[in-house]
Amino acid sequence: MLIAIALIVLVVATVLFHFLSPWYFTPIASNWDTVDATVDVTFWVTGVVFVAVNLFLAYCIIRYRHRKGNKAHYEPENKKLEWWLTGITSVGIAAMLAPGLSVWAKFVTVPEDAAAVEVLGQQWAWSYRFPGKDGELGASHAHLISVDNPFGMDPNDPVGQDDVLVSNPQLHLPIDKPVKMLLRAKDVNHQFAVPQFRVKMDMVPGMVTHFWFTPTRTGEFDVLCEQLCGMAHFAMRGRVVVNTQEDFDKWLDAQPTFEQTLTATKGDPVAGQALFATCTACHGAKGEGNRELNAPKLSGQADWYLVRQLQSFKAGVRGSNDQDAPAKQMIPFASMLADDAAVRNVVAYIKTLPEVRPAASVVGDPVRGKELYETCSACHGDTAKGIWATNAPRLSNMSDWYMARQLQHFRDGIRGGHPQDFHGAQMRSMAKVLADDQDVADVLDYIRTL
């Protein structure tokens, strides 16, 4: 008896939950409202079956529960009833399948005027490529990928020279223009998913997959990876900004072409030396760092990382939080570097500085630290030398007091909170692994042993 009541309560509760819970599809931002309609049809058909069969089950339990003198009805089969049920079920199935397949027919038919955009996935970041003026994407190959050619572009392919490269997890798209997303992965499977667009597809290394949609409203949308891609899968975040055509064109024009990235200066250490004079006041003549002045050691750090940080300071992406005084302090100094060439020059000079061993200032338990470091090693490497491909800077032989503060800042949301600081946001997710200052000290003491 109780079970019958429980079934009725569960059916009612489920229906109420469906209508009252705050969770349903996010407001749609693409042309795929037919997908939502198919889901609605499916909800209606399955909902009716769910309610009807379960309530009938509850009825049967109540009506035919064992009482003295009851006897079950002996009836091995009832052909007519069984065929009726089969028939009705088939109709219900067809009612769901037909709209499903007709929407799918649209999904597999990419409109001819769809603009091509390439999404490149990697552990654990996104980047994008537009075909440029010629409308064609140039050749690329995984084996051509390097720190200077992160897209793996074929430098000899004339078609690729004008391709526009977006080395940033934020993609802009124009509203109301169908777009064919060409998906490529560098290392492992990923998936490009934006819940508001409804459609998505895996990215598989060794092949180019695709799907298409038309953005229908402007705004910012989170890009999620929805195919398990390793340790930091959950922190692989990107963003699609849907703009008006005008804003989109402005943005696209500001992005470099492949040709431009090839001809960008590698940085001149001689020119950089003069610029570095300003830095020495805090960071020291050899970039060895100075704890009293909150200046971390620079020598030995990866050049791509220093370039990005200087650019972030200049753009206010780092140092935007009032609680981070030393980072705020860095903004005017970074802004003294007039352009990207100046940034590259000064970093080129830092690269020539001799390696020194920074003084130890954080003491912890390196044995525990080793365990904790397992998480960190996925990006920063087993020896903490840093890995350009995962956007992870070098940790070994760098200022431990500085890293301790950054880890605390990441954990407390002081660093990595700026909407444009994707890598910082990623580090915020990861830094939570180090719950308290003891964990931070332990892991840093272990890194010192590397």
Partner: protein
């Protein structure tokens, strides 16, 4: 020499009862002992997987409070939890456990046809479990590639256990498949060859039909997993490129070139989808018998039920790529696989109707096994219907990769089969042990598990519709579309999960305590018709049947036959005035 059925040659074989303790309980060739061995190992490793799910729920529900698992551990636990539950618990328990126990007893055979192979099957299974567990102790720990083990990530840095851990997993799977093949051949051959006199195919209990078909599916599907395990191991160990394309892993070139990650997915799901039914069909069969027995009514539409099992079994081999709608395979495949997948819903729905119609006009005894069987119908309806979402390619696209999928497969092949497992254990416990379990504790176990599981998984469907992705260690506040209510719900889900997990300790206590202290059971406490309840001793002795094999005179469902004074007539009872001929099937009303 002309073929003579095994049942007709029974007198030719002496039984050779084992004498020593070791031959009786350790190196045993008795199917009943092997069944219990299988079940105990499966339940033990299942408890490990259950514990891991609690740790994962602590992380998901209270990410800032309990800092006990790091991301790599989270991914290792989802992998091991999934693989253990699907393969090492459910497959092993249904086929190695229930298959072993029930096939010979229900068919009136003395044992499996290959007892020695049967024993080897168990020991290989145990070895597979040990190799799996060894993964926890190798450098880097067990693999964290997800239970689907997709390459390239399963063997590349960035994934936990990508060197040693994955090899342990692949080796363990290969050994498991060897164990399963020995067992599966045995089950199939026994059903085909060792039925007693009168036990025609269309008189077999549905439990045997389900297990029989599942074993056939396993024999056809597991080889696909076996070869993919070997191919992936070769990719990892000696640098072949079956599944490995040219990649830049951590910015570095690898030795691989030209392999296809999608090939693995096809092989995996060619195994993986039938695997769903390898677990489901035994559950379907067993639950049919539980419902019929405890509703005192024949299973409704027996022949339709048998055909549905066969149809589902065959169709299960042509639906695999519905797991791959957004994998990047040619999207045109979507038309074919969506159609086959939705067609498979028809025979499945028929089974559900017939279960409900078995209760309809029955004489329903709400015993502990019956409660679990009814609970199964509810959760299976739920999980089956959400399968219609995910099987329909267009609807799957927004939902794939979200918590909707997690909710669906836990409902349909986690909660539902495990409710049958519990119901079946309670149902056959008196036969297996000769003791009765504690009914009050059994009911407590049912209510907490049934309601708790629904509280866990119902909200997940809607989180998935919202778009909350699965396989995430944490959800940063930077994901805009996820409202705070989701984080709150995660707390409640975690609390429910811990309550359900703790409830399983009550179940274990009941099993162990009743084994020693429970009242001595009646040989046929449920007044059931099938042969296992008609053994001369309870628990059945070696050889099961004493001097003479039973002979069957009727189908397995002669409950409440008109004109009979009792509301059940066992299969081995000849026709007489007090035990009239039932109509079996096919006889018009």
């Amino acid at each position: 020499m002309a073929f003579v059925a095994i049942a007709d040659r029974d007198h030719e074989h002496a039984l050779h009862d084992p004498q020593s303790f070791i031959r009786k309980y350790i190196w045993s060739q008795d199917h009943k002992v092997i069944a219990v061995q299988y079940a105990l190992v499966a339940i033990s490793i299942g408890l490990v997987a259950l514990t891991m799910s609690v740790l994962m729920r602590l992380q998901l529900g209270f990410p800032d409070t309990f800092n006990i698992i790091a991301p790599q551990e989270y991914y290792q636990y989802i992998t091991m939890h999934g693989m253990i539950m699907v393969i090492y618990l459910l497959t092993a328990l249904f086929l190695g456990g229930f298959g072993n126990y029930l096939i010979p007893l229900m068919l009136g055979a003395r044992d499996m046809v290959f007892p020695y192979l049967n024993m080897l099957s168990f020991w290989f299974y145990l070895l597979a479990v040990l190799v799996l567990v060894a993964g926890f102790f190798v450098p880097g720990g067990p693999t964290g590639a997800g239970w689907t083990l997709y390459p390239p990530q399963a063997v590349l840095p960035g994934t936990p256990g990508a060197t040693w851990g994955i090899i342990c997993m692949l080796a363990s799977l290969a050994i498991f498949i060897v164990a399963f093949t020995m067992g599966g051949l045995n089950y199939v051959t026994t059903v085909l060859q060792a039925r007693c006199r009168g036990m025609t195919f269309m008189r077999m209990p549905l439990s045997v039909w389900g297990i029989f078909m599942a074993s056939i599916l396993g024999l056809l599907a597991f080889p696909a997993l076996f070869v993919s395990a070997i191919m992936m191991a070769l990719d990892s160990l000696i640098g072949t490129s079956f599944f490995m394309p040219a990649v830049a892993s951590m910015g570095e070139k690898t030795v691989h070139t030209g392999g296809s990650p999608l090939l693995f997915q096809h092989l995996f799901w060619f195994f993986g989808h039938p695997e769903v039914y390898i677990v489901a069909l035994p559950a379907f069969g067993i639950v049919s018998d539980l419902l019929s027995t405890h509703a005192r009514r024949n299973i409704f539409g027996y022949r339709m039920m048998v055909w549905a099992i066969l149809a589902i079994g065959c169709l299960s081999f042509v639906v695999w790529a519905h797991h791959m709608y957004v994998s990047g395979m040619n999207p045109y495949f979507g038309f074919f696989f969506a159609t086959t997948t939705l067609i498979i819903a028809v025979p499945t729905a028929i089974k559900v109707y017939n279960w409900v119609l078995t209760i309809w006009r029955g004489d329903v005894h709400l015993t502990v096994p019956m409660l679990f069987a009814i609970g199964f119908i509810f959760t299976f309806i739920n999980g089956g219907l959400t399968g219609l979402f995910l099987g329909n390619v267009t609807v799957d696209v927004p939902l794939s990769g979200t918590y909707f999928v997690v909710a669906h497969f836990h409902m349909v092949m986690g909660v539902s089969p495990i409710l049958v497992v519990f119901g079946a254990i309670y149902h056959w416990y008196p036969k297996i042990t000769g003791r009765m379990f504690d009914e009050a504790l059994g009911k407590f176990h049912f209510w907490m598990t049934f309601l708790g599981a629904y509280a866990i998984f119902l909200p997940m469907h809607y989180m998935g519709i919202l778009g909350v992705p699965r396989r995430y260690y944490g959800y940063s506040d930077a994901i805009q579309f996820i409202p705070p209510s989701v984080h709150e719900a995660n707390e409640w889900i975690s609390i429910s999960a811990m309550i359900v997990a703790a409830t399983q300790l009550v179940f274990l206590y009941n099993l162990i305590h009743s084994y020693f202290k429970g009242p001595v059971a009646d040989p046929n406490p449920w007044r059931a018709t099938t042969l296992e309840w008609q053994t001369p001793q309870t628990p059945p002795k070696h050889g099961n049947w004493g001097k003479d094999l039973p002979e069957v005179h009727r189908w397995a469902y002669d409950y409440s036959v008109p004109g009979a004074p009792e509301d059940f007539i066992p299969q081995n009872v000849p026709h007489s005035d007090k035990t009239p001929v039932g109509r079996e099937h096919g006889v018009p009303t």
